[in-house]
């Protein structure tokens, strides 16, 4: 199954990755190869088989709704690339 350059560009945008020209070319080729290999799963009949997302059955786990210490603001901001002591700063989203 050939993955085209357009496919790669679309997926790169979804994945929030910027790829160079060279990367776009290599990625198309490598993804085509890998997806081509993975395609042989289609040979296997899985009619009536339930999908299994987890090997061990998962149940929701709750704790009692008690107030406890949470991460103090300064610690939460300690690794921030850009902050103003109150919150994280990022390039403006609305309006230009």
């Amino acid at each position: 199954m050939a993955i085209t350059r357009q496919d790669v560009e679309k997926v790169a945008l979804l994945a929030r990755l910027q790829l160079s020209e060279a990367e776009l070319a290599t990625m198309s080729e490598q993804l085509s190869q890998i997806v081509g290999y993975v395609d042989h799963l289609a040979q296997l009949s899985t009619d009536g088989v339930e999908p299994m997302a987890h090997a061990i059955e998962q149940r929701n786990v709750f704790r009692t709704d008690e107030v406890a210490m949470s991460l103090p603001r300064e610690e939460a901001l300690a690794s921030a690339p850009h902050h103003d002591s109150r919150g994280y700063l990022v390039p403006a989203v609305l309006g230009e």
Binding site: Q18, H40, T46, H54, P81, A92
Partner: protein, 512 residues
């Protein structure tokens, strides 16, 4: 015999008896690291000062006859993706090169509570994605048995640190074989517990339904010691199993009477190296000589394991790695350069009257995300994110992700049926011994196929262990993999230990 030749279990006795002090042992490890690290490159960081302080504190407690933990004074190397508060946790990625978590992972907290000496952080494939440790953003790790070859991955640094005699114990993680495969290629013992046996709280997530933390050591007995220390239910990991932890060290030396070993006929297909096959069959004969029966079983869907894994793992990874966007922590692209790049593109499009281009042009925030991730992630990580995003995207989700989840169930059912007939499954860990550095780095698919024997255990959630069972004529280690049903770590450890006590492979040391 140098104290570094002793196993962790022997060292524990030496420490308890006072024959060796924790400071002496840690110093010996530090000296060994100095003598070999420039050739092996197992560690990203060695914390000599802090380790010696931890060791001295343990010695002081022992001197005052105060209680100490079960790992007290034993140096342990930790793969660099388990969070420790205030300490660098890089996942061998530029994305987290300067990252200091604000909390301890449960595994690291337990190691500290048990008195382990945290000697340093080991090299790995970036974000645990790889089978050779060549995908580290920072350095190459070489196999102590042959410095031109990889130690395997992604826990290559941990495997090499034990194999080179730098530490008696190491922590690795295994998502598709990343403990067991490097253990096999480096001639040490590595174990992946049942999914949920060890807490993932504070483990930087790669694939949440597959990741597990596990022990690496010279012997099965040592692996039992480390597993006992780190296993257990954790409220803060909702996938953690609420099951008591058996005293693995109390039973590990007890052989299993009437052991039935299954060997999958599919594991001996074309492509299996002749020497690996020979060593594996010899190991089975050892088991027979110990009174075990060996019978053929079938795991018919195992051949779809790699394809299934390389849909599910990248899909989960694409979701887990979405958090690395430069906003809250970790690397962020240079904003001024980013804005200049955007402004330049806008100007060119306006000049060319490219209305469509202008409409679709990234916003500043999106461009920040895209550049941050392009600059912060290495090629293998990008490849897997792309693969996962593709498999989950509209139009492909059913054919890829959903399909893979169904095959996952079939793979699990194969094991359930097999374990109705046998107690353990034995077989090769890889089709070939350690490969050369650079040999597969340009062929991602070939690299993925190395995981042939290991991925199914992760998909099924069952525990697996690899221990040394031979050497090639060129002196490269050969590993034997054993697999057991869910939560049968005790059976797995006892079964492995039976073989170990009847052979000498675990006593072989890399010639470095």
């Amino acid at each position: 015999m140098s104290i570094l030749q002793r196993t962790a279990s022997e060292l524990r006795q030496s420490l308890e008896s006072g024959d060796v002090s924790a400071v002496e042992l840690t110093t010996a490890c530090v000296e060994r690291i100095s003598a070999t690290e420039d050739r092996v490159g197992a560690f990203l960081r060695v914390d000599e000062k802090r380790a010696l302080a931890q060791a001295a504190a343990i010695d002081a407690r022992r001197a005052k006859k105060q209680p100490v933990g079960r790992l007290a004074g034993l140096p342990v190397a930790v793969k660099d993706l388990l969070c420790e508060r205030g300490q660098l946790t890089t996942c061998a990625s530029r994305m987290l090169a300067d990252f200091r978590p604000p909390y301890d992972s449960t595994v690291v907290a337990k190691l500290k509570a048990e008195g382990a000496v945290l000697l340093g952080r080991t090299n790995m494939d970036e974000f645990a994605m790889g089978g050779s440790t060549e995908n580290s953003a920072f350095q190459v790790t070489r196999n102590p048995w042959d410095l031109e070859r990889t130690p395997g991955g992604s826990s290559g640094g941990s495997a090499a640190s034990v194999a080179a005699g730098m530490v008696p114990l190491a922590i690795g993680t295994d998502t598709g074989g990343s403990i067991r495969q490097p253990a096999g290629l480096c001639g040490v013992v590595g174990m992946k517990p049942t999914y949920g046996r060890v807490s993932r709280y504070g483990l930087v997530a790669f694939a949440s339904s597959l990741d597990q933390v596990g022990p690496m050591a010279h012997t099965v007995e040592d692996a039992a010691l480390l597993l006992e220390a780190i296993a257990g239910h954790d409220q803060r990991d909702s996938t953690s199993l609420d099951e008591p932890v058996p005293a693995y060290t109390a039973t590990v030396n007890q052989p299993l009477a009437g052991l039935r070993i299954g060997v999958a006929k599919e594991h001996f297909a074309a492509g299996l190296d002749a020497e690996v096959e020979q060593a594996t069959r010899a190991a089975l004969r050892v088991y027979e000589s110990l009174g075990a029966t060996v019978e053929e079983i079938s795991l018919p869907h195992g051949k779809f394991g790699v394809a299934t894994y390389y849909v599910i793992a990248p899909s989960e990874a694409s979701s887990n790695l979405a958090r690395y966007d430069g906003a809250h922590y970790g690397y962020r692209t240079d904003e001024r350069e980013m804005l200049a790049e955007l402004a330049g593109e806008r100007k060119n499009m306006e000049a060319a009257g490219n209305r469509r281009g202008l409409d679709q042009l990234d916003s500043a925030l999106v461009r920040m995300y895209r550049r941050t991730r392009a600059e912060g992630f290495g090629p293998e990580v990008k490849r897997r994110i792309m693969l996962g995003t593709y498999s989950l995207s509209a139009g492909y989700y059913d054919a890829y992700y959903l399909k893979a989840l169904k095959v996952r169930r079939l793979i699990r059912q194969d094991y359930d049926h097999a374990f109705d007939e046998v107690d353990l499954i034995a077989g090769p860990i890889t089709a070939s011994p350690a490969f050369k550095l650079g040999e597969m780095i340009d062929d991602p698919l070939a690299m993925y196929l190395v995981d042939l024997y290991t991925v199914s255990a992760n998909l099924a959630g069952i525990p697996g262990l690899c221990l040394p069972c031979g050497q090639t004529t060129s002196g490269l280690p050969i590993g034997l993999q054993l697999q057991a049903p869910i939560l049968q770590e005790e059976r797995l450890l006892r079964g492995a230990r039976m073989y170990e006590q009847a052979t000498d492979w675990h006593k072989q040391r890399a010639p470095i």
